[in-house]
């Protein structure tokens, strides 16, 4: 059924269809309407689950961990400082191999205090052993709620998934979304089965400590299985297309990249505008491409190398900055290309911080810079803050 839904409402529909058995909920803007929508579903009987009103994000994820250790399918959601508040629990969830699905409404980090969208929250926690995926629109958000469980719970993976949904740009923006039926969802996503849980006939110890003698094995297999998620994502998306008739392109979403002279890499809802501008440039005979990263963990190494191998210049537009370094996505993309033996002039565009609009003009400017780099003009490797006027850089 087609509905006009916000990103949060759409995601909640996806969660409902996934039939989680335990939901732990704590509000934070702009995530709040997800847990509100789920509470309404529990109230009206359309969702049967244990709904825990927890007192913090730390408890939200910890309770999800406890529930997952009983073999229950679990869901929680957070944003921004809330994600950081539960940060230590992220490694318990991933190290314990609990396939929790968590929605993160991407939002800026304090200070200055700011409730609007950017991606510093999730990107600063890229190294915590979770699968990270970024939605571009509300339909993808809903569909990812379902696909995330299928990937997370696959025994070859058995890892938590953080589904990132841009704060406000998606979470509070209404658009038309196809909501699958429960029957379709059930055909796609079977109940969760695992051996990684308490067992009353053959009791287990879970989440124990492992010293230097054994620790490396756990880390190694965690890494291996996170890498293995790439193949599982492809399988899951193939099944998804079969059941729902909507196809997704795997680790990355390449647009006009095959013959592109220069490609702008981005993630999340900013990709739509980047494609608009690429279309403009194509109409002018300029070969621009857009590569939207969907999964940032596992790192889409092969897909990036494939899509960017023939581009003469590469830019990364992201709503994030690792202070004193570069944008996190840029650093990851460069490392990925370097490992594939690809060296190209590049630039890093930092925009949309704290809910700032990424304007069409700014995206045009970014492409113009890439066009110049592709033509051998300008310095490579610069970190450009969109919207900081010339001359402002040095003022105190």
């Amino acid at each position: 059924m087609r509905k006009f839904l916000s990103g949060n409402e759409a995601f909640a529909e996806g969660v409902r269809l996934a039939r989680p058995q335990v939901i732990s909920a704590y509000p934070i803007t702009p995530q709040t309407t997800v847990v509100e929508a789920l509470a309404s579903m529990v109230e009206d009987g359309s969702l049967a689950c244990e709904y825990l009103h927890v007192e913090s994000e730390h408890t939200a994820l910890s309770a999800a961990i406890g529930a997952s250790a009983t073999g229950a399918r679990t869901f929680t959601a957070t944003s921004s400082q809330g994600l950081l508040y539960m940060a230590e629990c992220l490694t318990y969830a991933s190290g314990g191999r609990f396939p929790i699905v968590m929605m993160n409404a991407n939002r800026a980090l304090a200070l200055p205090w700011n409730i609007y969208g950017d991606q510093r929250d999730s990107l600063s926690l890229l190294d915590h052993g979770w699968i990270q995926v970024y939605a571009e629109n509300n339909q993808e958000a809903l569909d990812l709620a379902l696909m995330a469980y299928a990937v997370a719970e696959d025994p070859r993976v058995s890892l938590p998934v953080m589904v990132n949904v841009d704060g406000f740009a998606l979470t509070h923006t209404y658009e038309s979304v196809e909501v699958p039926t429960a029957d379709e969802a059930d055909a796609f996503l079977p109940p969760y089965r695992t051996a990684n849980k308490f067992d009353f006939e053959n009791p287990v110890n879970i989440g124990y400590s492992a010293g230097p003698d054994f620790n490396r094995y756990y880390q190694y297999w965690h890494h291996r299985d996170l890498l293995a998620a790439e193949a599982v994502v492809e399988e899951v998306e193939a099944l998804f297309a079969e059941v729902f008739g909507r196809a997704y392109p795997g680790m990355v979403d390449a647009y006009l990249c095959e013959d592109a002279d220069f490609v702008l890499v981005t993630l999340g809802s900013a990709a739509g505008l980047a494609r608009d501008v690429a279309d403009e440039l194509r109409a002018q005979g300029k070969r621009a491409g857009v590569l939207r990263i969907r999964y940032l963990r596992p790192m889409p190494d092969a897909a990036l190398a494939r899509a960017l191998a023939d581009a003469a210049a590469v830019g990364v537009l992201e709503q994030d900055i690792s202070f004193g370094g570069t944008g996190t996505v840029y650093a990851n993309v460069l490392a990925s290309l370097a490992r594939a033996g690809i060296a190209r002039p590049s630039a890093n565009f930092i925009g949309g911080l704290g809910g700032d609009d990424i304007s069409r003009e700014a995206v045009r400017g970014a492409f113009a810079r890439l066009e110049a780099l592709a033509a051998g003009e300008g310095a490579s490797g610069e970190v450009v803050f969109l919207g900081i006027e010339e001359g402002e850089e040095d003022q105190r």
Binding site: M1, R2, K3, F4, S6, T29, P30, T32, T33, I115, Y116, F168, A169, L170, H172, T173, Y174, E175, S176, S269, A271, G272, L273, A274, R275, D276, D357, I358, S359, R360
Partner: protein
């Protein structure tokens, strides 16, 4: 792309109207639409804005609207100097007012009066939903009905449908409607003929939704 900027005070239902319009376009008129509010620490009573974007193709640009074909003021007191900067060329301001205005860029509607006549108190947001199909071909009054039914709680349907019908009749009777239609249509990239063919099917879909899809007004509350 046809864009709308809604001005109101928190709690006046501007975002509900923006959403109804988006639902009308996306669920009934077969177009693509986005609807979103501005958010801030302000609470009930503070000035706020909401946006609706309608297009025949998927909408890539999710950023706020700075210049629109329609700029709608639910509250007359919010109009400030420089308001015309928000109007796209040929655009129109829709203003909730009892006054007669002679500025051709402004269409005054007594939205408080029209809504009070039905509801017994002035809740002007849906009056403007009725005005819009009289001014652009992008959505019809039937689309607006479907949008309201898909977005509002069912107990509010009957009265709001009456309001939009009254508003539609009122605005359609004005001379301005005929002239604006051309200008606004120019603004709209919407292919009306393509849209019309899908309408009937979409309408019945939307009508189904009023049973379970009871929307609610988020406005500025969620901070």
């Amino acid at each position: 792309m046809l864009e709308f900027i809604w001005h109101a005070r928190g709690g006046q239902g501007a975002f509900t109207a923006a959403r109804c319009l988006g639902a009308a376009a996306a669920l009934s008129a077969g177009a693509y639409a986005l609807a979103f509010p501005t958010f801030g620490p302000e609470r009930r009573g503070a000035p706020m804005r909401a946006f609706t974007k309608i297009d025949t193709a998927p909408i890539g640009d999710r950023s706020a609207v700075h210049r629109a074909a329609f700029v709608i003021y639910l509250d007359e007191t919010l109009v400030e100097d420089g308001w015309e900067d928000e109007l796209a060329p040929g655009g129109l301001m829709l203003l909730n007012t009892k006054r007669a205005l002679d500025d051709p860029r402004i269409l005054g509607i007594d939205a408080d009066g029209i809504s009070a006549a039905v509801l017994g108190r002035p809740i002007p947001n849906t009056v403007f939903l009725g005005a819009i199909p009289a001014l652009t071909a992008a959505v019809t009054i039937e689309d607006i009905h479907a949008g309201i039914c898909a977005t509002m709680p069912s107990k509010l349907h009957e009265k709001n449908l009456r309001i939009v019908d009254a508003a539609f009749a009122e605005v359609a009777s004005r001379e301005i409607a005929a002239t604006r239609d051309l200008v606004a249509a120019e603004q709209a990239a919407t292919d009306v003929t393509a849209v019309l063919s899908e309408k009937d099917a979409m309408f019945s879909l939307a009508a189904e939704m009023l049973v379970e899809g009871e929307g609610r007004d988020f406005d500025v509350r969620d901070c």
